[in-house]
């Protein structure tokens, strides 16, 4: 080699073949994959909670208790007129008897209901946006017109859904946190093993005057690189699976959270891969620094 330009760029000082790099990367890829699924689930749960609340907040149901069937149409017209006057921008419509009976099916089963079964008349109110109106006064106004009514603004459902959504979100985030902890533990264990496997290299580095910080930086770089590579692979796999699930589930489920994706999720997934790399690097740095200090105390 006569030309200096032929000198190859610097080799890594730590020998990646001496420790079980492939096994470590495989484990980290699996963790990154699981973390990406948890993250997408958490984001979906958050979106679903917001969507549910938004949908519920945009609608209300008015139940009219009408004893006298002869007065039924009049009272319905009166109620509709009052509701339209109160909420001119809202869509007001009477729910057909057949539809109202269908709402009872979850409780009464699919048997044919008798025609004389007293079913309250339901009026649906649909607003343009959620939670912008208070319906508290409506009952008394209808009462003033001689109409006995119950107003369901779905707030009790909204609270339950909010709680359920928060629970789902918290569960997904807790799983994510556990995966991060596991990543840190795996990286720490791998660093410990690498320090042992590369004792000869470290001895030479120490002999030529390498400071602990220098050696620690080598392990930080190695672990960070492995974490980032594994994070990227795992996140790409998780992203693909989530996207397939998104395509398959879209619009199919009503009550359970869908594994839906949004373009902003891609940003979160990229951040997740970076975070896994960072966690591995920090964990390796702390472990290497601690073990080098211990070694110094022993020698």
């Amino acid at each position: 080699m006569d030309n200096i330009a032929d000198i190859p760029s610097a080799y890594p000082l730590l020998n990646s073949r001496q420790d079980n790099a492939r096994t470590l990367i495989s484990v980290l890829v699996i963790m990154a994959f699981l973390a990406s699924l948890s993250l997408v689930f958490a984001l979906s749960a958050k979106r679903l909670k917001n969507n549910w609340q938004d949908e519920l907040g945009k609608s209300a149901t008015v139940q009219l208790m009408i004893d006298n069937s002869e007065m039924k149409d009049l009272k319905i017209d009166t109620a509709i007129a009052l509701l339209k006057e109160e909420y001119p921008k809202a869509s007001v419509s009477v729910i057909e008897d057949g539809t109202a009976k269908a709402l009872l099916k979850p409780w009464l089963g699919s048997v044919d209901l008798p025609d004389d079964l007293p079913i309250p008349t339901l009026i649906s109110l649909e607003f343009e946006s959620s939670n912008i109106v208070s319906l508290d006064h409506l009952k008394s106004k209808l009462s003033d017109e001689g109409i006995i009514a119950e107003i369901d603004d779905h707030s009790r459902w909204s609270d339950q859904i909010s709680q359920t959504g928060r629970g789902l979100l918290a569960s997904a985030l807790a799983i994510l946190a556990l995966i991060f902890l596991a990543c840190a533990a795996v990286s720490a264990f791998a660093t410990q093993a690498a320090l042992s496997a590369q004792r000869d290299v470290i001895r030479v580095l120490v002999q030529v005057g390498a400071a602990d910080n220098f050696i620690t930086k080598l392990f930080i770089g190695q672990a960070g690189k492995r974490g980032l590579i594994s994070g990227c692979i795992g996140v790409i796999l998780g992203g693909i699976i989530s996207f397939i699930a998104h395509l398959k589930q879209k619009g199919e489920t009503a009550l359970l959270p869908e594994l839906t994706m949004n373009w902003t999720d891609v940003i979160w997934l990229i951040l997740l891969a970076l975070l896994i790399g960072l966690i591995c690097a920090v964990s390796a740095g702390i472990t290497a620094s601690r073990l080098l200090r211990q070694e110094h105390r022993r020698s």
Binding site: M1, I4, I7, P8, S9, A10, Y11, L13, N15, R17, Q18, D200, V201, R203, V204, L205, V206, Q207, V208, G209, A210, A211, D212, F214, H296, S299
Partner: protein
């Protein structure tokens, strides 16, 4: 060791500065007998010293004390006028960067090429690669490894490994060079060339301490000579 006149002019001009100073140093492993006992030694800046003695006499142990791989059991060791027993970890690492070491078993890193092994002290000092590449290439050519720069250590002969280890020890222009049998595995021509390298470094101000059995090597240049016998240090070669 009582001070003896060094032929080196730098040693004379800086006679007041001791690079290495041992006072009544003793070394024992665990609870065994003392390997070295009441050793007194001074290596002045710019001196060139040969350390001789039979195998197992304690030459390597004494060298280990000098390059901070072994702790003494008693006495005082000063390196660069600093007491090693109170040196912090950072001070020890900084001191090690001033010392070039050539060991009998070379301690080359197997997964690094000859070039990378030799450049290692400069990388550890975080010097810029483009600035030291030329120096490393020239030094490797000088020690006869110009054609083996990309070779891996396991493909080198014993002599080539030794030359690579020497090149690594001197590349950072250390203030103190410690070598354990540096010419043991090389042919006489290369041996003389390496000795010239050491002499040249000494002329430039590096303090040299070489442990060797090779009397012919000792006779090549005029230098201080000390020998270890029964764990004690004496001046000069043993009388026949």
């Amino acid at each position: 060791m009582k001070s003896s006149p060094s032929q080196n002019r730098l040693a004379q001009s800086a006679a007041s500065f001791d690079v290495v100073r041992f006072e009544r140093v003793g070394v024992r492993y665990n609870r065994g007998p003392e390997i070295l006992s009441d050793v007194n030694m001074r290596l002045r800046r710019g001196s060139f010293t040969f350390l001789t003695g039979a195998s197992g006499a304690g030459k390597s142990t004494l060298l280990k004390l000098c390059y901070l791989t072994l702790k003494h059991s008693r006495g005082l060791i000063n390196l660069f006028e600093q007491d090693v027993s109170v040196m912090s970890r950072a001070e020890q690492q900084s001191t090690k960067r001033k010392i070039g070491v050539v060991l009998q078993d070379f301690h080359l890193i197997d997964h690094l090429s000859v070039f990378e092994n030799v450049a290692l002290p400069l990388r550890v000092m975080e010097e810029v690669r483009s600035e030291y590449t030329q120096d490393v290439v020239e030094l490797l050519q000088w020690v006869g490894l110009g054609h083996r720069m990309e070779a891996m250590p396991q493909t080198l002969s014993g002599g080539e490994k030794q030359r690579a280890a020497i090149a690594r020890a001197v590349i950072a222009k250390p203030d103190l060079l410690i070598a354990d049998e540096p010419t043991g595995n090389v042919d006489p021509v290369i041996g003389r060339r390496l000795l010239r390298l050491f002499s040249e470094m000494n002329r430039m101000g590096t303090t040299i301490l070489i442990a060797t059995h090779d009397i012919s090597l000792i006779r090549e240049i005029q230098a201080d000579i000390v020998r270890i016998e029964n764990g004690q240090l004496y001046e000069g070669l043993k009388e026949p």
